[in-house]
Symmetry: C2
Subunit: 302 residues, 2 copies
DNA sequence: TCAAAAGTGTTAGGTGTACACCCATGA
DNA sequence: TCATGGGTGTACACCTAACACTTTTGA
């Protein structure tokens, strides 16, 4: 924090005097933006009257109405103004793009590579928002020619592990696929993790990005990793559920995000302390009706 | 991402043309800094020839040589230049302040409240670095009149819990104490966590900060929380150990960071897969010599 | 009647905790 | 000799995976 310390006679004046004479304009500065990752759960198609609908993970993207990446899809976001905090900026953008307020929001990571925006130096602070499936009704903001929910999938294409004397190398190739009714976007993400002695080195690179603007495919990949890991040890998943839900619906959300099939019996027991019965039932299809639960307000997480 | 989209005829030109005519200078921008939290383990005093030295957690601070907060202590850090990434800036600062290279570094959080720096709007990206106790030899950088390791302690002063109909409120008052040979800095951190239905609300405020510049007491508190939670499910603690170490030394690091006493038998079994014997022994004091271990390069974390 | 989902009971295997106990050392 | 830490064995409590089984529904 040396900026400004070298103003005229910087020490032998009072702090008040210093601040009055401080000139902030001497250095060139990067621009700062927030980018939003708005996730929700949408229910897919029902195969027949008995089967439950398979839910899918949805992500909100905006079609770019200007250069660069004209016509491609990007995360909603925008510049941080001088008079709002980062989180205020994130909530403002979220409200502008979706009309949503007061939902789960979490700072994810700040992206600051030099060439990540071809216009100028842009540092972007990304936020993850989780929306209850019941309350989403999109309204495109003014600087977006189009907004749309995309269905998110991650596929492991290849995994190589090499164990040697002092450590190991793990390389993974993952395909990220985003689809809506008319379009399919994709990106190949290569990760390389080296462990040598105590030193651990992680590396991520994007190859073959199709239709996703900037480095946003990488940000989406990062967010999915975070979501996947946090669902294991927090109650974050409940932010994706409506107020009342069945345990099977909740289980499917866990399965989609973690990418693993779970055993119903074990899942129910694990969730037992986090939910309470409402007494109501989901009058259902050709099978036994299921109890509706709500989140237990007295739950202890961890 | 609308910045610049409204340049002259923004859509009906090519992306190349657009970028050539793009002018980045039209908006006022915040400044961006990186702040470093450099932690290490230092060994304290030995009570008598039998007892082991109690290690302590150390944090590197720099005494401010200019306004604002003249004479107070701050995290090492500095402005991010236009031609370096955030992580490059962090590594550069770290090297300048400590001479250290190639050590563990992790992005923590980005702080962007409007009034956090009295000079001008400053957004700060904080990084946590962990240093092996054996290799620290301080050298103060040019913009710091003084650099010093402080011993870190967190004390829970008060905890209030209130459970009501739809949720609960937990309030905690924690005292953060930083001491070196001659000075003692402190801050009271109040946290309030509200759970109501699905909505979880966390709030943190600083009261009575003594000798710590800017909002850095809050950043330190945040870093300690992160360190505490990550030590439970990652092998991050090994970055604080020298190449060869005894299991008791490792256990003491876990105890200091987690703030809990551990049972040696259980700890040794938990660590069994993460370490390998070197065959060497720490020729010791009035007790059985202890084996020296090193990190197992084939360890599986999680 | 029956496919599909809802929900319960039982068991086996693994993991963490507590504690007892022995070993080795140097002043 | 003995305080102190190094290190192992064992018993028990708890958690989880796996699977079998019963219940309930609408076409």
């Amino acid at each position: 924090m040396s900026h400004g310390d070298k103003a005229f006679d910087p020490v032998n004046i009072s702090e008040e005097e210093f601040l009055q004479t401080y000139d902030a304009g001497e250095y060139e500065r990067p621009s700062v933006t927030v980018d939003m990752l708005v996730f929700t759960i949408r229910s897919g198609e029902q195969e027949n009257y008995r089967k439950l609908a398979e839910p899918e993970l949805g992500l909100l993207l905006i079609r770019r109405g200007g250069h660069p990446y004209l016509g491609q899809w990007a995360l909603p976001g925008g510049f941080v103004s001088m008079h709002e905090s980062l989180e205020d900026a994130a909530r403002r953008e979220l409200h502008m793009e979706t009309g949503l307020d007061g939902i789960y929001l979490e700072q994810l990571y700040t992206w600051g590579d030099v060439g990540r925006d071809p216009r100028t130096r842009v540092i972007s602070c990304s936020y993850m928002a989780l929306v209850d499936s019941s309350e989403l009704e999109l309204q495109a903001g003014d600087d977006a020619s189009d907004a749309s929910w995309f269905w998110v999938e991650q596929k492991l294409i290849e995994e190589k592990r090499h164990i040697h004397e002092r450590g190991r190398v793990t390389e993974r190739r993952i395909q990220l696929v985003l689809s809506n009714e008319t379009e399919q976007l994709s990106a190949i993400v290569d990760t390389k993790e080296q462990v040598e002695g105590r030193v651990r080195n992680s590396n991520l690179s994007l190859v073959d990005v199709q239709g996703i603007a900037f480095d946003h495919a990488q940000i989406i990949h990062y967010a999915l990793e975070r979501l996947r890991s946090k669902i294991e040890y927090t109650d974050i998943a409940f932010n994706l559920m409506p107020e009342k839900f069945t345990l099977t619906a909740l289980q499917k959300v866990y399965e989609i995000i973690s990418g693993k099939k779970l055993l119903a019996a074990a899942f129910r027991r694990k969730m037992a302390d986090w939910v309470t019965e409402t007494g109501e039932y989901a009058s259902s299809a050709g099978h036994r009706p299921s109890r509706l639960y709500r989140l237990n307000p007295e739950r202890e997480v961890l």
